[in-house]
């Protein structure tokens, strides 16, 4: 009798412990999320005014000026990178889906995985060596190339996954109609997987919008407007990184303001992907 009771008590204690461990862990993980959002909004909102969006950064240490060239820079870098990275990523994904049974494709699929895992700063070093060094100048195009390389494996993998999810009956129906294979893939299978592919693209765009490391040694950052793809360019991420470490409160305030903008974009794009994923 006593042993059954003590066994029951022991089990009760074990179960309670398990529940406490699980729920505490969840709370511990969510606290930083809220703290980051709260602090970024609280400190960032102070920096936001019209000048913040339309003016160039003022002289170091003075509270005048804005971050307009960083906003412009991020837009240009992300657009250029997307123009290069999206087609390559999507076509790679199509190849892996359609010809995934070929011997050659194993090697390609393996490379895509490894490229996906590469620390992004390594990509920056690579572009520095092959683009910046021969051109003798940091440049917008070098930054865009680095970001494109970060994008390609993300898009390739999500495209392949979304194509795999398309029921084989759809693709077979196309083949039965006698449509050439490539038209079948592009117009029927890819079309059915469109929302998944689009989600992957948004995911990749979100990721490169927040990238800093590969830009340090490629696009460098700048205090001026964009002045050509062979010249350095600023970005929100580089601005946050540099301004946060400066001893001037006005610079730190701008860093928080830029972080506010960046976080807003990142979270919004991410929630779009999440809701898109659910509607499928």
């Amino acid at each position: 009798m006593i042993s059954t009771i003590s066994l029951r008590v022991k089990k009760k204690i074990q179960n309670t412990f398990l529940f406490l461990f699980a729920s505490l862990s969840t709370v511990i993980a969510i606290i930083p999320l809220f703290s980051i959002i709260f602090e970024v909004v609280k400190n960032g909102i102070k920096a936001i005014n019209l000048d913040f969006f339309i003016l160039l950064p003022g002289p170091v240490g003075e509270s005048v000026g804005g971050i307009a060239n960083a906003i412009q820079g991020t837009l240009i870098l992300v657009t250029l990178a997307s123009i290069i990275g999206i087609p390559i990523g999507v076509i790679t994904g199509i190849y892996l889906y359609e010809y995934g049974r070929e011997k050659k494709s194993t090697l390609i699929s393996f490379s895509v995985d490894l490229l996906y895992d590469l620390p992004s700063i390594v990509v920056g070093i690579f572009v520095y060596i092959v683009v910046v060094s021969p051109m003798h100048s940091f440049s917008t195009i070098a930054g865009a190339l680095a970001l494109a390389i970060v994008m390609i494996p993300i898009i390739a993998k999500t495209t392949e996954e979304s194509l795999t999810l398309v029921p084989s009956t759809i693709s077979e129906a196309g083949i039965a109609l006698g449509i050439p294979k490539w038209k079948n893939i592009i117009f029927i299978v890819l079309n059915s997987a469109k929302s998944g592919v689009l989600n992957g693209i948004i995911l990749a765009v979100t990721r490169i919008t927040g990238e800093t490391a590969p830009l340090i040694m490629t696009s460098l950052g700048s205090t001026f407007w964009f002045s050509g793809i062979n010249k350095p360019i600023n970005s929100l991420t580089l601005l946050i990184w540099r301004y946060a470490m400066q001893p001037y409160p006005s610079a730190v305030e701008k860093a928080w303001g830029a972080a506010f903008l960046l976080l807003l974009v990142a979270l919004a794009l991410n929630l779009i992907v999440k809701s898109g994923g659910k509607s499928k």
Partner: protein, 303 residues
């Protein structure tokens, strides 16, 4: 050649870009690392001196390698149990709606750009750990060597803990996936012989999904090794001898933070850029080994 064959060749050519890039990255990094290894020899890997001044150049990456190992280790030590707890909460204690909301929230942690983690770590988290973790530990346990440096909040501990937060989304989501695949028969079997939920989790789920959990941990480790920006802002940026991990509260440097912090200051005619590129090569090799092993383990669990 018909149109399908053209399409095949075209897509093969485009897909080969990834293979080409990967090969080029490796070859180019090796080629640019060679000059510094030529000069320093084995000392490049085992020396602690770091001096970019022309004429006195000396480069040893041991402290930064150890910095990467230590911060990643802290990240795993703290991040993995928390991630496992989250996975348990989602699979054992949540209904579908709660699971959905919590899952989304945890995944938002992965959406926050690394540089924002750095900003938060530098201005907010630093004060928190300084006040509530480092000073008390230093005060009561300062005799222990791992707590023996006067705390500043910009140190290995801050770097490691930020990394712990950053790996939670990936480790917890994969652990959740793995735990979901534990067959109901196993769980019900343990309940049927009078087991409690604790018995089910400890003797059933964990034992059954051991490999998957190891894979998840390795993926988290891969993420931690390559992470750059956040760490570069909170680790204190010591170089040379000073960057050797003396305690959790000493300022340090990781391979990636070293590259981020010094690349733009390196004189292109010196060996300094080569020394940094070599750090990148070591980082690349570490990341590839860890991620490859993780992939091999996790892929068994997919579909």
């Amino acid at each position: 050649m018909n149109e399908d064959e053209i399409f095949h060749l075209f897509s093969l050519a485009v897909a080969s870009i990834s293979l080409l890039l990967l090969a080029l990255i490796f070859v180019v990094l090796v080629q640019y690392t060679f000059p510094v290894i030529n000069k320093m020899g084995i000392n490049y890997f085992i020396s602690t001196s770091w001096n970019p001044v022309f004429g006195k150049e000396e480069y040893g990456i041991l402290p930064y390698f150890l910095g990467t190992v230590l911060t990643s280790f802290i990240a795993i030590l703290v991040g993995v149990p928390v991630s496992f707890g989250i996975a348990l909460f989602l699979t054992e204690y949540s209904n579908k709606t709660l699971k959905n909301y919590l899952g989304t929230m945890i995944s938002l942690l992965a959406a926050i750009p690394s540089v924002i983690y750095g900003l938060w770590g530098f201005f907010i988290f630093r004060n928190f750990i300084l006040e509530y973790i480092e000073r008390p530990l230093y005060h009561y346990f300062g005799g222990l060597s791992i707590f023996s440096t006067t705390p500043t909040g910009l140190d290995f501990l801050n770097g490691g803990l930020i990394l712990a937060i950053m790996i939670i989304p990936i480790v917890s989501s994969i652990t959740t996936e793995v735990l979901e695949q534990v067959p109901t028969e196993i769980k019900e079997g343990i309940y049927a012989i009078g087991g409690s939920r604790y018995d089910v989790v400890v003797h059933g789920s964990i034992r059954y999904s051991k490999n998957g959990i190891i894979g998840a941990i390795l993926l988290g480790l891969g993420r931690a090794i390559g992470e750059t920006m956040a760490v570069s802002m909170v680790i204190g940026n010591a170089t040379g001898e000073n960057a050797l991990p003396k305690s959790l509260f000493s300022a340090g440097q990781t391979l990636s933070s070293l590259i981020a912090n010094e690349f733009n200051e390196a004189n292109p005619t010196s060996l300094h850029p080569n020394a940094l590129i070599g750090a990148g090569l070591v980082l690349l090799i570490m990341a590839v080994i860890v991620n490859l092993s993780a992939r091999m383990i996790v892929s068994k669990y997919k579909r």
